[in-house]
């Protein structure tokens, strides 16, 4: 990122970190966690210990990081190298990202940025119209549909972990990720000790990966003896039954039909159920028991929005509630071929033009690489 852009963004971040102590706290058991941060145009600094809010605020003001992270793991010695930290356990974490949901709206708010000449296009081409280069970066800007679809995944996830896994609602914290999705943290001692492999299997459960017809009563041989789950069963068996039968009264008839169609057809139905009912989380994040995960309250440098706690998911509007940078105007050269919406105001599209924008919108475009400081 060029120096002028960095200094504009940094000053906006600094102002936020200076003024919004109320939003920025260390998580519980902070002294057992590893912290890390990144600065613009620089690598990661990690293995840090931040004991309390005061130390965190000092760090943020001194360094003005682009991104701040904190481990989900608890260690005896969080500041030592990985092999000496002495892992004690880790919160269960989940990452739901709109870009992984295969949504059809994505094409309407994705910008293709030529890697050589920075020319922007809103439609995919095999070569840049300006310089002929075949390499593009994609940038996606905020979208209401992406957020509401991500919320649906959050709701599915919370439902399964609170019913099947017996985690209480109070132990689940939902955060807007600061860009295009949500982060969840589950603090439940029973699950804290699970290793990476165990978490991988847990993720498969949530995503409904690897389910076999036999588990739902369908027999490969002698298929007429199959007996499918009932409407009121718990866990996936009940969920599958409710999806297949849609009502209790239809269950006997549909059961007969399913059994008559056979094993392979049922396998296909389970695949369908996985697509619609499985929770689409990023398995890598949940499996990682040493990850440093974006710290709540900090700003996400991919957007300039903050990672914040969602107390009411249904009504939550990230482009209003997580857009927390200043609103004094700054001039930038905006090259943003799609319209963006922040704090209920529309901006753009702009085609390499100088515009005066509120700081939060200017920083958003700079972070997305869709504009430059003047």
């Amino acid at each position: 990122m060029i120096e002028k852009d960095v200094s504009l963004i940094q000053s906006a971040f600094k102002e936020y970190y200076f003024n919004r102590f109320d939003l920025i706290h260390v998580p519980q058991r902070a002294t057992e966690r590893e912290f890390g941060y990144q600065k613009f145009n620089s690598g990661m600094t990690r293995h840090l210990v931040v004991k309390n809010d005061k130390e965190l605020h000092l760090l943020l003001m001194r360094e003005v990081p682009s991104d701040v992270y904190c481990s989900n793991a608890y260690y005896t010695f969080p500041n030592l190298p990985m092999s000496e930290k002495d892992w004690k356990g880790a919160d269960l974490i989940f990452d739901i990202d709109a870009k992984d949901l295969g949504l059809s709206c994505r094409k309407d708010h994705t910008v293709f940025k030529c890697s050589s000449c920075n020319n922007h296009a809103t439609e995919f081409r095999s070569q840049c119209a300006k310089c002929g280069s075949p390499k593009f970066e994609t940038v996606s800007v905020g979208c209401k549909n992406c957020i509401s679809e991500s919320k649906k995944e959050v709701t599915k996830l919370v439902d399964i972990i609170t019913t099947d896994l017996n985690v209480s609602k109070e132990q689940v914290e939902v955060y807007f990720s600061g860009n295009e999705g949500f982060h969840l943290r589950v603090t439940n001692v029973d699950y804290e000790q699970l290793g990476s492999q165990e978490r991988a299997d847990l993720v498969d459960y949530l995503m409904f990966n690897g389910a076999v017809p036999e588990s739902f009563g369908m027999k490969r041989q002698d298929n007429s003896k199959s007996s499918l789950p009932t409407f009121d069963e718990k866990g996936w068996r009940g969920r599958v039954a409710r999806r297949l039968f849609s009502s209790k009264s239809k269950a006997p008839k549909i059961t007969r039909e399913i059994i008559a169609s056979g094993y392979s057809a049922f396998q296909v139905q389970l695949e369908e159920i996985k697509k619609t009912m499985g929770v689409r989380v990023d398995p890598k994040v949940t499996m990682d028991i040493h990850r440093i995960f974006r710290l709540e309250g900090s700003i996400n440098s991919k957007s300039g929005l903050s990672k914040i706690h969602c107390t009411n998911l249904d009504s939550f509007d990230p482009y209003l509630e997580a857009c927390l940078l200043g609103d004094d105007t700054v001039d930038i050269i905006a090259d943003c071929p799609v319209q963006i919406r922040l704090k209920n105001k529309k901006f753009g599209p702009y085609h390499t033009e100088k515009v005066s924008l509120p700081k939060y919108a200017a920083v958003y475009m700079l972070c997305k690489g869709l504009g430059n400081a003047v």
């Binding site: 896994l165 290793g195 847990l202 866990g235």
Partner: protein
């Protein structure tokens, strides 16, 4: 207090209570050396021989002589410790854990009406800290307790998604409950044997100890290792030799496989020279990381065949012969 009878101890002779029982009888090792007790020594020896052949020693618990069932286990341990052969101890622990597994399963099953369930549940709880409870003739354990054990099984039916799960619990049959703790049971018995120290043994034990040493010779070094690479590894090497791009997961397979075969980072690194994005420093760094000599110190294991299949890196041939991990390729047991 739960009352554990001698019949229970004959089933589960590795319980701490078995030692106490023996102490209470006042019987000493010296006394066991007397020729009156020779049948017990023979029984103990037989128990080891059966175990070493991979069979499970069957007990007649309906007979009146539960004492000799219990004693023969304890004498077997003394014989094994005196012979000091790890392979025999391992085989014995495994066979004894399978034997106990049968009884545990029976005890769980026949007493699921709760009358007599205390003992099997207590064994599982005390030895492995798993709380098993009963719900409608089924056994239930907490999801995390389940996951920590079931992830070591490869069959799909053990995946959590294929279990009945409700309110944080997994539902299991008696058989499955016991299957879940098999490895731990084996390890527990093994550790128990390891912890026993034997100073001197009665003269009458000695010839059987010598027999055990002779028996063990049959088991030493009977594996034959083919120097040939499994097809997935061959494929990876070929791709690299052609200078084509091998995905990260393919490189990871090569590195972990070759490391597991005893090659060093310096020996493996040149293999990646033809890769389109080769960088000597990065390659070395990553290999060292995988080998566990840098970074977190975790030594990464070769991915399973199942994982490779899902990554389209499996090119199985009949020679693979049902292995579940490439490192097993070409290892054949010569019949003893």
């Amino acid at each position: 207090m739960l009352k554990i009878g001698v019949k229970d101890l004959a089933k589960y002779p590795f319980l701490t209570e078995a030692g106490e029982y023996l102490r209470n009888t006042g019987l000493s090792l010296e006394q066991l050396g007397h020729s009156d007790w020779q049948p017990i020594v023979e029984k103990a020896y037989g128990r080891i021989v059966v175990a070493s052949s991979g069979q499970i020693y069957g007990s007649d618990l309906e007979g009146l002589d539960n004492d000799s069932e219990l004693l023969s286990f304890l004498v077997a341990i003394i014989l094994l410790k005196s012979a000091g052969i790890a392979t025999l101890i391992r085989r014995f622990s495994l066979a004894e854990s399978r034997r106990a597994e049968r009884y545990l399963q029976q005890d769980l099953w026949v007493s699921r009406d709760k009358k007599n369930l205390e003992l099997p549940l207590k064994i599982i709880q005390d030895l492995f800290s798993i709380n098993v409870s009963i719900d409608n003739e089924e056994f239930v354990i907490k999801v995390p307790d389940y996951l920590q054990r079931a992830v070591h099984f490869h069959e799909k039916e053990w995946k959590l998604v294929n279990r009945r799960v409700a309110n944080g619990f997994v539902y299991l049959s008696a058989h499955e409950t016991v299957r879940l703790i098999r490895t731990e049971l084996g390890e527990y018995i093994n550790a128990k044997i390891q912890s026993v120290s034997v100073d001197s043994i009665p003269q009458s034990f000695k010839s059987r100890v010598d027999d055990l040493v002779a028996l063990a010779k049959k088991f030493s070094d009977t594996t034959y290792v083919s120097s040939e690479y499994p097809p997935c590894v061959k494929h990876g090497i070929e791709v690299l030799e052609k200078g084509e791009n091998l995905p990260h997961s393919g490189r990871f397979l090569l590195a972990t496989y070759l490391l597991s075969k005893g090659q060093t980072v310096d020996q493996i690194a040149p293999l990646f020279k033809n890769a389109p994005d080769y960088n000597e420093r990065t390659t070395k760094y990553q290999l060292e990381h995988i080998s566990g000599s840098s970074g977190s110190g975790t030594k990464y294991q070769c991915p399973s065949c199942e994982k490779l299949r899902s990554e389209s890196l499996c090119f199985a041939t009949p020679d693979c012969d049902g292995i579940i991990n490439p490192v097993q390729f070409g290892k054949k047991r010569k019949s003893p």
